[in-house]
Structure formats: C-alpha cells, structure tokens
C-alpha cells in the first residue's frame, strides 16, 4: 500500500462475544469483520458497499475509535486507531445515518455550539463556522428550532453539519441517506459531492448501488465481513460486462425453481424481487449465449410473464460479487 494513504487497513478483524439462552447461557461468537484490507488516498471518496450485516458499520466504528479491533491494524492519517485514539478523534469527523445522535431538546444551533466546544472550535471562529455549515447543509433559518421537530432529512443534514464543523481532514459517513426521501437524499448526495470538491477524504458506507456509482471514486464490496471485490465503479461493472442479464416476470416461483435456475450452465447469480402480485427473477450469466430457452425450460409449471435481456449494471456486479461469496 502506498505510504500516502490517508486510511490504511490491514487484515482487520472484529469478533463480537455475547451469550445466548435464558436459563443456561452459552457463549456465542459472531465474526463481523473477517480480515479486511484496503487503503484510501487523500481527496478520494471511497465506498464500502454491502448488504445489511456485512460488517460496514463495524469497520467504520473501528476506524473512528469507537470499537477496538480483535486483530489487525488500522491507521488514519498515519495514526493508530487503537494507540492514538485521542489524536485520531481530533482530526476526523463522522456522520451516522438515522434519526438518533442529536440532542433532541436542543436547537440545531445549540447542538452545533456544544460539539464545537468539544472539538476546540471556540469564540469568533465558532460563530463563523456554525453559519458556514448551516448554509452548506441548507438549515439556515431553521437553526433555532428544537431538533425534535425536525424531519429525517433535516436531522441528517444536521448530522453532516456536526461532522464537518471542526474542518476534519477525513470524514466517515455511515449510510447517510438511509430513510431519507428521494429529494432529501439527492440534496445530501450533493452535499457529499461538495465535501469532496472541498478536498476532504471521505469513506462512505451504503447499500444503495446508484449512490455508490454516482459518488465514489473507488468501491470495496463487503459481504459477510470480507471484501469480495474492489475497484472503480467502471472496473466493477466491467467485471460482469462480458455477461448477460435476463429478467423474467413470474407468478408464484418457489425455492426449488430458483435452485434449478442456478444450476443452469453459465448462470452466476439469481435474485428474486417481489413486485406486488408477481416476482421479477434476475438471472446473471457469463458469456453471450442466449439463455431464454433453457431458463424457461426450468420454469415449467410457473406462470411466466414478460422476459427481457439487458446490459449489466453496477447493481448486477454487486449481486454477482455478494452471491459469489455465498
């Protein structure tokens, strides 16, 4: 890995230890992150893309010093996240997705004033910075209102304002658009793009493919605690560009039929999406071979509607990588 990496992760692991059972409690270990390595260069927007429970949040929490790794190492700005946690904290910002993480009974401005003090931004500089970040996230004029009355999108924008208030060099964003309506999410993505233009290094976790595709310079796809693919969005798409994607509308498909589709030669991934009364089966395959006939042959007894073929997208690349790991 290059020495100039702002974030450098090597064979990072994290195991959660808990207990299960009511009367006889038994120890239970869950390996959330299983030896991941990656590096993020200065000024880069790096995406960690993966399904729920893949280990994205655990990874980010280790990097922002809220969790200790079980093994491996992680450095941010050359600082060890375990041994130099205090120094790391003063030079990074982080933004969690969701409703929580703000003082509900305080106004947005009071929230920012409090966190400004915690991060050593005081006096005249504090007033200027608060005005700047409120303007950046579009909360000017609403800043005296209590946070408990804010919409989800407004809270999320306030999260971002809090995360960048002290002008950190590196910003970690953990699913920042989760649960936000489409218009709000688009505005948030614009804010994130503005941060990159301002020269910040960003690590973004998301499970929205289009978001990763639109924003990230590079992406690591994470599944079950392992990185299963890494590269630019274009390179990841190219990984499945040689193949074909067939979409079949069906009515009442069962697991056995899906298993039969998976067994068709050259098929690499099959996913089923519920669409009201019907389902959409998405079949990915390698090569250019026409697969409609053999696929329909495996759907004998299942009601079939529209069938179409299309070019692979980043989502297909993601599904192929995640399914390939199973």
């Amino acid at each position: 890995m290059a020495g100039a990496a702002v974030i450098e992760v090597r064979d990072l692991r994290r195991t959660y230890r808990t207990t299960t059972g009511v009367v006889r409690r038994r120890p239970l270990e869950v390996e959330a992150v299983r030896g991941i390595s990656f590096a993020v260069e200065r000024g880069e927007l790096f995406g960690l893309l993966g399904p729920n429970g893949a280990g994205k949040t655990t990874t980010i929490k280790m990097l922002i010093t809220l969790l200790l790794p079980t093994s491996g190492s992680a450095h941010v700005l050359g600082l060890d996240v375990v041994e130099q946690a205090r120094e790391v904290r003063s030079r990074i910002g982080y933004v969690f997705g969701g409703d929580r993480g703000l003082y509900e009974r305080l106004s947005a401005r009071d929230n920012l004033r409090y966190f400004a003090e915690l991060y050593g931004v005081s006096g005249k500089e504090q007033r200027l910075r608060i005005e700047e970040v409120l303007e950046l996230v579009g909360l000017t004029g609403r800043d005296q209102e209590r946070v408990e009355g804010y919409s989800r999108g407004m809270r999320q924008r306030l999260h971002i304002a809090r995360g960048i208030l002290h002008e950190p060099e590196v910003v970690f964003l953990d699913e920042p658009t989760i649960g936000v309506d489409p218009v709000g999410a688009r505005e948030l993505r614009q804010t994130i793009a503005d941060l990159v233009r301002a020269g910040k290094t960003l690590l973004l976790t998301t499970h929205y493919m289009f978001e990763a595709d639109a924003l990230c310079d590079r992406i690591a796809v994470i599944a079950k605690g392992r990185i299963v693919g890494e590269g630019t969005p274009a390179a990841l798409k190219a990984g499945v560009a040689e193949g074909t994607v067939t979409e079949i509308e069906v009515f009442g498909i069962d697991d056995r039929a899906v298993a039969r589709l998976r067994a068709v030669p050259s098929v690499t991934a099959v996913t089923v999406e519920e669409r009201d009364q019907k389902q959409l089966v998405i079949v990915q395959a390698t090569g250019e071979r026409e697969l409609t006939a053999p696929l329909l042959a495996e759907l004998d007894g299942v009601g079939v509607g529209r069938v179409s073929s299309r070019e692979p997208t980043l989502e297909d690349a993601y599904v192929a990588l995640v399914e390939g790991d199973e």
């Binding site: 809220l66 003090e117 915690l118 991060y119």
Partner: protein, 257 residues
C-alpha cells in the same frame, strides 16, 4: 477561559436547558420533595417538636437533591445511549470524564430547586420560620455539597458506560442513602456498625454542613469532609471513565446495537 472550562460551562448550560424541558426530571426535582417535606412536617409536628421544622425541611430538600443527582447521573449515560449521543461523546477528543462532568454537576445543581421548593413550601404552608444563623455560609455549604454530589454522580455514571442496565441500581441506592446520611432522622438512631458507611457518604457530611450553617454549629469540618470526598470521587471517576471506556470499546456496549 481555558478549553476545558469552556467545555464544562457549555455542557452545564446545555444540560440545564435540556433538563428544564424534562417533565420527569422536574417532577423528581420539585414535586417529590414537597410530598416528602409534607410527610416529614406532619411527623415532626406529631412528635411534638415544632422547633425542628427547619431541620426537617432541610433534610427533605436534601432528599430531593440526592434523588435528582442519583437518577440524573444514573439515567444520563443510558439516556445518551438511547439518544445515540453516547458514541459522539466518547468519540470526541476530550477525556470522557470532562465531557460528562458538566452533565453530572448540572443534575446535582437542578437538585437545588428541590431544596428551595421544600423551604418555600414549609414557609408558606407550614409557617416554618426561615431564620438562618449563617446565611452566607449556608450558601457556601449548599454549593459545596451540590458540587460534591455531582462528582459522586459521575462515579455512578461511569459504571453505566459498561453495563447497559446498571441504572436499575439507582433505585437501590435512593432510600438507603437517605437513611444512612441522616436526611430523614439522626444517624445516632442507627446501629453502630453503620457509622463507617455514613462517613463515606458525601450527603452525610453535606447535610451536616447545611444544617449547622442554618441552625448553628460547626460548619467548616463537615464542609471540608464533603469537599474532600468530592475530590476523591473526581479522582475515582477519572480512572473509572478511562477504564470503562476502554472496556466498552472492547465489548461494544456504547451503542444499543
């Protein structure tokens, strides 16, 4: 003002703003002590000792101070965890004890409402004469006691970082500390073996300092003890916060999920 002093002042003001909008907290701080004071006044009247009404009022008020400190500090970490702000406090650059010190002091400070409400209730409803022998010393003793209780609350709060449901302990500590500190009746009525427990409790010395300042008696000795115990609590809290923060990062108990 230094950076640390600014953090303490800002955190104190912000927490007072938040507590001022919490109906549960106001109920604990204001209404509950009035109920206790009413019961205490009738008990003391029934005992034919009307001259001790101010003694009873101060004890009842301190019961409120202790309750708000205990539940405020006990609930503080858990409330921050529920609200998702605990990770933000831990992830901030200052030592965790400095981040939560102003919250704990604000909790104890709010408890002073309890004392004032009790005294006013006693004056208006029961005609308790509010004649303080050393009014200035009374204010000093009260401020010292509140500070010390805030620091004691900080030690309790630190344990709640590690144990998500440790605030259940708050319920266990309310009544025994009232009794062992002599807030309701004199500790001379308790078995002899309980004395060391009383001596280790800041409220025991705090109520002595407050009562002596108000009713007459040596104030500086008990005041020195309550401040000394507060200092010990501050040292313990700085160590436990550091230790429990490390363990919480290892055991992943900072967030709900």
């Amino acid at each position: 003002m230094t950076a640390s002093a600014r953090i303490v002042w800002c955190g104190f003001v912000m927490n007072l703003k938040m507590l001022g909008t919490s109906s549960f907290f106001l109920l604990t701080a204001v209404v509950q002590p009035i109920i206790f004071a009413t019961v205490a006044f009738y008990m003391f009247r029934a005992g034919g000792r009307p001259g001790t009404l101010l003694y009873a009022a101060l004890g009842a008020g301190m019961m409120g101070v202790w309750s708000t400190t205990l539940f405020g500090s006990g609930g503080m970490i858990q409330w921050q965890r529920w609200q998702g702000t605990l990770e933000l406090g831990v992830g901030a650059p200052p030592p965790m004890v400095l981040v939560y010190l102003p919250f704990s002091i604000a909790n104890a400070f709010t408890g002073m409402y309890a004392l004032v409400a009790t005294l006013l209730w006693g004056r208006i409803v029961f005609g308790v004469p509010l004649h303080f022998v050393h009014p200035l010393l009374f204010v000093v003793a009260l401020a010292g006691t509140v500070l010390s209780l805030g620091l004691m609350g900080l030690v309790l709060a630190s344990t709640f970082i590690l144990y998500r449901y440790a605030n259940a302990m708050s319920n266990l500590l309310e009544y025994p500390v009232w009794v062992a500190s002599g807030l309701v009746f004199s500790t001379s009525l308790l078995p002899h073996w309980t004395r060391p427990i009383s001596w280790a409790l800041p409220p025991y010395w705090g109520i002595q300092a407050i009562r002596h300042a108000a009713l007459g008696g040596a104030t500086w000795g008990p005041l020195g003890m309550v401040l000394g115990l507060g200092l010990v609590a501050a040292v313990i809290a700085s160590l436990t916060f550091r230790l429990f923060e490390h363990l919480a990062r290892a055991r992943a108990t900072l967030s709900l999920t």
